[in-house]
Amino acid sequence: MSTPLLEVDNLSKAFGRVVTANKISFQIHAGGITSIIGPNGAGKSTLINVLSGTLPADDGRIFLRGKDITRLPTHRRVRLGLCRSFQVVNVFPALTVFENIQIPVLGKAGKAHHFFRKLRKEPGARDAVMSVLERVNLVNQAHTVAGELSHGDQRLLEVAIALAVQPLLLFLDEPTAGMNPVERVEILQNIRKLSASGRTTFVIVEHDMDIVFSLSDRVMVLHRGDIICDGTPDHVRSDEQVRECYLGEEVAE
Amino acid sequence: MLESLVHVCLAGLAQGMFVWLVASGLTLIFGVLRVLNFAHGSFYMLGAYFCYTLLSALGDNFWAGLLLGPLFVCAIGFVIERFFLRYVYHFELPYQLLLTFAFVLIFDDVVKVLWGAGSLGSPRVPGLAGSVPILGRNFPTYSLFIMVAGPLLALVLWLVLEKTWAGRIIRAASSDREMASAIGVRVPALYTAVFVFGTWLGALGGGLAVPYVGLLTPGMGETIIIEAFVVVVIGGLGSLKGAFLGALVIGLLSSFGTRFIPTFDMFLTFILMAVVLVWRPQGFFGEAS
């Protein structure tokens, strides 16, 4: 079997007495869309924070394409192909949409340290930025200041910034939060399209069960620091434990 | 040799108490308001100058001066928080820091205008003047007094914070501002109260320093704020325990430096700060970032 894209080995993370990860182990292979679900406060966002380097793990190891990234700072993990988007819009507010995308594009192209060449003279970067903007339909807003965008557009920008580094593994933290149904459908189509093109493997933290079950190839259920179920959507839907912990929520129709 | 060492230690411990008072006010204000008050050294200086003036005016009564002096500074602190700082809490951090810094500039010159740019001689405190022989050498009685008064004040402060209702609110607001507001604490009033209390601590330090420093100068605020910064970096910003221990360490280090390597005395404290920064960046009792 080929090296998994992501391997998590006995990962633990706790805040005082609250255990958000309890010796979790799993593997994710390249390709496809995996969802992580679980009751609120189960630690899904924390898991992403630990995997992306925002928070340190208490114990355990993380491997990206076989390379141990447990101690690496965030920007090094990004260079190795990992990225994430945020649940709460987290853009560069005073910069234009174009500039928001330009930063990760320059970072990816290794051109970010050029301190003398005028930005205007970096044509390759410009094309890359426009293509990202086309993919999320924000071309018309290219010169709008990010802080002045509508909320829905900001969410699109949010995901676009993460896509701009062309990650191999992309964590989306509740990508449809706060979106109206039309925007929701659009972003899901985008995710499907991108996933199909093969370059990026998606791991999505979500609440909306419709999305989870219609979109994912694989679902992992996180509850109180443990993965209580891991498999295809159908498998998870019919699991007893999962039903119990989601009592009251619509898991199966 | 031994009595030299002992004296240097004792002097250092006494010296640390003044920095501690300023640092404790600084760290308390930071813990609750999340503002680093650059002007805290100015409060120390103003406390010293007000106490000096009052004690002369009240017939050389040091204790009256010590009681009343800091209150004047508290009034100034109140005005600063209520009419200036309050409006900049939602500004970006650099602007908040610069606001407090503006007051440093203002008070530095105000002191020069009101009291002259030269230095004023320290008066003696009747009853605490003179010295006491320790291990064969004379040690100033006033320093001994500080060595007792300082930790006593620390104890009182700790008791207030741990055991009283007001203290509980301060500690709650310190760790979770939104929660405190949600349970009905009037945050703006609390902020003002904490700022004024912190001001009082700093000014008290200045007042106590009047008989100790030998000379009151307009530069005394600047030196003490740097030391207070070093103390809170070492002890951890927001931690009163850290401030106390940090101040003791700085006091001792400074005392040893002055006695044995005069040219580099301040340098030692900066080296220690650099070491702590590399080894334990949040300070000994600070929150990990």
Partner: protein
């Protein structure tokens, strides 16, 4: 501001400055040089404050490194002014690298405290090492040997050296601001966490900005030592660190020309105030208060907003 309008304005400024150099009396020459030196200091500094969002209270120390580095080179190594300036800038850069290394790993509050403390550490060194630095007297007798064969002993001649370095600074800072590096700095100011997720080492870029601004501070300090013929230990004091901050604020933190305009206002205002009272710090403190409470955009901030609203598309000069 439209690009051609900006070039025109800078051209005019250049002509004006050259004119002053050729025609003005000693006092105006001296004052203009002081404005230019302060502008060099502030332009570099604003790369760190306005662009990268880091407030340092220790940059006076790098200015002093420039002053003392240049002076020590003149007194003990060679009177060649270019070598002296290089020595000053190098000393400032080394100090900025070391101090920056300790400081950029922290943000905001700790950063401000630490830069202040380390800056004062340098001040205490300068003050205490009398034998090397002259202590509270400073180093005296710093002369101006001929530069590339040209005599610069007179103020009217040295003026053009200062002008040349000023123009150089303006050009370099402009290029930095319009480069990829400059954009990344803005990103780091806006959202350091997201910048990390763009694969960029936030610490590394901050350190670079710190060192670059330190280098310009050193340049200003070196030239200042040559202008005044002596060094001043208080140039390392933290209250001197307030000058580039004030200047940038007065002129407008997010603008390119802000530090230049702010320097002019600062020097002129200080001259005026000092005619009436010694307590100029009090008045600048009050000015700082007013700006923070009311006019954070600064002088140029208002001007640029006006131009932006007037319909011209914002070009690099005006972009944050």
């Amino acid at each position: 501001m439209g690009r051609y309008k900006a070039y025109l304005l800078f051209g005019l400024m250049g002509v004006l400055l050259v004119g002053i150099g050729l025609l003005a009396g000693r006092f105006v020459l001296y004052l203009t040089m002081r404005v230019m030196l302060l502008a060099i200091f502030a332009l570099g500094y604003n790369l760190l404050l306005g662009r990268t969002g880091l407030l340092s209270f220790g940059h006076a120390a790098f200015f002093a490194c420039g002053s003392y580095g240049m002076s020590l080179c003149f007194l003990h190594v060679t009177p060649d002014p270019l070598v002296g300036i290089l020595a000053g800038v190098t000393m400032a850069v080394i100090a900025a690298l070391i101090i920056g290394f300790f400081c950029v790993r922290h943000t905001e509050i700790y950063f401000a405290m630490l830069t202040l403390a380390f800056g004062m550490m340098i001040f205490s060194l300068v003050w205490n090492l009398r034998s090397i630095t002259g202590g509270d007297d400073g180093l005296v007798g710093i002369g101006r040997a001929p530069l590339l064969g040209f005599s610069i002993a007179r103020d009217s001649q040295f003026y053009f050296v200062v002008l040349a370095f000023f123009v150089l600074t303006v050009w370099v800072v402009h290029r930095i601001r319009s480069s990829a590096f400059g954009l990344v700095l803005a990103g780091i100011r806006e959202n350091p966490q997201r910048a990390a997720f763009a694969g960029l080492s936030v610490k590394g870029y901050r350190l670079a900005a710190f060192v670059i601004s330190g280098a310009f501070a050193g340049l200003a300090g070196s030239l200042a030592a040559m202008l005044e013929s002596n060094t001043n230990p208080f140039s390392a004091h933290w209250t001197h660190s307030a000058e580039p901050v004030l200047v940038s604020l007065i002129g407008g933190l997010q603008t390119f020309t802000g530090p230049i305009v702010g320097s002019l206002i600062f020097v002129v205002l200080r001259e005026i105030i000092e005619r009436f009272t010694q307590n100029w710090m009090l008045w600048f403190g009050l000015l700082l208060l007013v700006i923070i409470m009311g006019f954070r955009g600064g002088a140029m901030g208002g001007v640029e907003r006006y131009f932006a609203q007037a319909g011209t598309k914002p070009q690099e000069e005006g972009r944050p």
